[in-house]
């Protein structure tokens, strides 16, 4: 196995204690940092994504792979040149006003992060105004909103309406999810729907491409 295969394999297997040594070994051997990233770590993460979709990998393993990738990035980051790392996109995420359920949104954040998105998680019970202000400040590509209850879906509608009112926020892409959400509701409010965290990653990728 060559060193790039070993690095990719570390990511797939979640070998947090191994990856730093292997990345260092590749760099010591004169390899370009960008090559280590693209053909080692990112190749590994792509395999992780495929295996998860096929049902061969499970959520805790995917999260461990993402953490392993972070370990490798610690070494690589100072050496990478501007433009070597392309961010997939910026996302502002929130569970909407009146709703305190966190786990679904947290999971989507973690999966999006693993796919290379920069995440700004505003937490739970977030008002339309707080979301609008965060959009103004962070200038994200996407706003993601989660709700668990039929009543709090109304907060999603209010937020979308507020974002549409302002010229600086009206063009941000909107994703929604949660137990009462469905494609029809999303379309009605001018948003996009995904059923789970994995589909949310696919949707986010399609919205920024």
């Amino acid at each position: 196995m060559d060193i790039l295969e070993m690095i990719a394999n570390d990511v797939v297997e979640g070998e947090m204690d191994e990856i730093a040594d292997h990345v260092q070994e590749a760099l010591d051997g004169g390899m370009e940092p960008k090559k280590v990233l693209d053909e080692g770590m990112l190749k590994g993460m792509n395999t992780v994504g495929d295996l998860f979709k096929e049902g061969e990998m499970f959520v805790p393993e995917v999260l461990m792979s993402a953490k392993t990738m972070d370990e490798g990035m610690e070494i690589l980051k100072p050496l990478l040149k501007e433009g070597d790392v392309t961010k997939a996109g910026v996302v502002v995420m929130a569970t909407v006003k009146g709703d305190l359920h966190d786990i679904g949104k947290k999971l989507v954040c973690m999966m999006l992060e693993g796919a290379g998105f920069e995440i700004h998680d505003l937490g739970v019970d977030v008002t339309p105004e707080e979301i609008r202000d965060a959009v103004k400040e962070k200038n994200p590509d996407i706003v993601g909103m989660s709700a668990m209850l039929t009543t709090t879906m109304l907060s999603m509608q209010d937020t979308v309406a507020l974002l549409k009112q302002d010229a600086t926020t009206q063009n941000v892409k909107i994703m929604i999810g949660g137990a009462p959400a469905n494609p029809d509701v999303a379309t009605e409010m001018g948003a996009n729907y995904s059923a789970d965290a994995s589909a949310a990653v696919d949707l986010a990728v399609s919205l920024v491409s």
Binding site: L149, T150, P180, S198
Partner: protein, 479 residues
């Protein structure tokens, strides 16, 4: 007094030693680690009762306070029909009663076996069919149907359930204010707050957000119920590996601690307030991220939680006929049966939720008939073996009379006892079965027949006026 459904199979998931271990661990969690308590009023009440308030609204409850509250919590609960008849009586006999549900977001159309949105006319159909089935003792209007503003959907579902369902109700609302609306309706419906408290035909439901978040909204519900004499179920829904530790024992310790916290809150507000122990520790599917409704570990943990509730001597809120499948198919019926069997054998007292498909995203009228069939089927199972002296004597006499190579068809004991054996109403045991199953067609026809012919006992003119007046007020709110 004999139990309403005799259970002679001696089923328990947890041994007394295991119950003690889980109880001790839950006490450690509450007294040493603490839980998050959002409600300022509840923090004050708990502090006055001996709890310790720490940084970030963490409350630690000493064992002494838990024990004191376990002494005052009622060991049973009675619920009444809409018309004031005691139809649910949980006490020393440890009776078991089954509930159903009136509405969720989607309905599985019983003619097509395909999912569509649920609307108000469906609410009536579910109420009528559930009113008809003797196996259903109470139901749950949840206010998730479409076509009405979600802020008043629970209230409207409750009004229609009062109209078309004569038994007890376990109300679910997204917000406590929705329940307070229903509470006022119920009080006016029976003639006042005291009358409703004396013979409640409604109970309510609240849940912490796992792990250990006792949010203001949930605490408010406990307070409103304690102050109005309405029984409340406090039921954490946690997912092993996601919102609960990944092992069954970890989830049981966590849920048990959260339920004990609810119990303490209710007793601190009003010693003697009716409290029902609920617990749904399920599997967080690490492939799909679904909180499973069909996982065997889920139903095992629900039955284990019933053992814990039995240890504390408080009524337990179980779960039946739940599935992850979306339609009536081989998977959903297999999962219904497993949950039904587990809950019927367990120490549950009020068994809710079924028949739920697609992890609580849709309900089905056909499923109600399947539940009814499984109710009598599993009831026959838990009846167990009669080994009374009289029965042993009768059997020895019969065996002796018949002798080797004989038959029992003409024996008196056969004639006397064969009808004690359960015969299915809808499932068939034909010697020669048809090549294609006609079960679904027969179930559809039965649903249609019941909906066409069953007329729930009507409410009085005065009661309809109460409901109509509230309905007009609710409908005017968000026009």
């Amino acid at each position: 007094m004999e139990r309403n459904i005799p259970n002679n199979v001696n089923f328990s998931v947890l041994s007394p030693e295991q119950i003690q271990k889980i109880h001790r661990a839950s006490v450690t969690v509450l007294s040493e680690f603490g839980v998050k308590m959002d409600s300022a009023r509840m923090r004050e009440e708990l502090q006055a009762a001996g709890a310790q308030i720490c940084e970030n609204d963490i409350v630690k409850v000493p064992e002494q306070l838990i024990n004191k509250c376990l002494e005052t919590v009622p060991k049973g609960v009675s619920l009444y029909s809409r018309d004031g008849e005691e139809i649910i009586k949980i006490g020393a006999e440890n009776n078991i009663y089954f509930g159903a549900i009136i509405d969720v977001v989607n309905v599985l159309d019983h003619h097509t076996n395909k999912v569509r949105k649920m609307y108000r006319e469906d609410v009536k159909n579910f109420a009528v069919l559930e009113d008809y089935l003797d196996s259903v003792s109470y139901t749950t209007p949840a206010g998730m149907f479409n076509g009405v503003d979600p802020r008043i959907a629970s209230q409207i579902a409750f009004l229609d359930t009062c109209r078309y369902f004569t038994k007890a109700q376990s109300i679910v609302t997204a917000e406590c204010s929705g329940f307070e609306d229903c509470l006022h309706v119920a009080q006016d419906f029976v003639g006042g707050k005291d009358k409703l408290a004396e013979k409640p035909f409604i109970m309510y439901y609240a849940e912490p957000i796992s792990p250990f978040m006792h949010v203001d909204e949930s605490v408010k519900r406990i307070i409103v119920c304690a102050e109005n004499g309405i029984p409340i179920t406090y039921m954490p829904y946690s997912m092993m590996g996601g919102t609960a530790p990944v092992t069954p024992v970890g989830a049981l310790i966590q849920n048990n601690a959260d339920v004990l916290m609810g119990l303490v809150m209710s007793q601190v507000i009003k010693p003697g307030a009716s409290f029902i122990y609920g617990s749904m520790p399920t599997v967080f599917d690490m492939k799909t991220t679904v909180g499973s409704y069909g996982a065997p570990e889920f139903h095992m943990c629900v039955a284990a939680s019933a053992d814990l509730a039995d240890f504390y001597g408080v009524p337990f809120y179980g779960s039946h006929c739940l599935s992850d499948a979306k339609t009536i198919d081989a998977q959903s019926v297999a999962e219904f049966e497993m949950s039904m069997m587990s809950t019927m054998m367990s120490k549950a007292n009020l068994v809710h939720d079924g028949p739920f498909l697609d992890h609580a995203n849709n309900i089905t009228l056909i499923g109600l008939l399947l539940f009814d069939e499984m109710f009598y089927q599993t009831k026959a199972y838990v009846n167990g073996v009669d080994t009374s002296d009289e029965m042993i004597d009768l059997m020895l006499k019969t065996i002796k009379d018949v002798g080797p190579g004989g038959h029992y068809l003409e024996e008196r004991s056969t004639l006397k006892n064969f009808k004690k054996i359960w015969y299915p109403k809808r499932f068939k045991r034909l010697m020669e079965n048809p090549d294609e199953s006609d079960l679904m067609d027969r179930l559809i026809a039965e649903v249609d027949h019941i909906l066409e012919t069953h007329v729930p006992k009507p409410i009085t003119q005065e009661q309809e006026e109460v409901l109509a007046s509230y309905e007009a007020e609710f409908m005017s709110r968000y026009q």
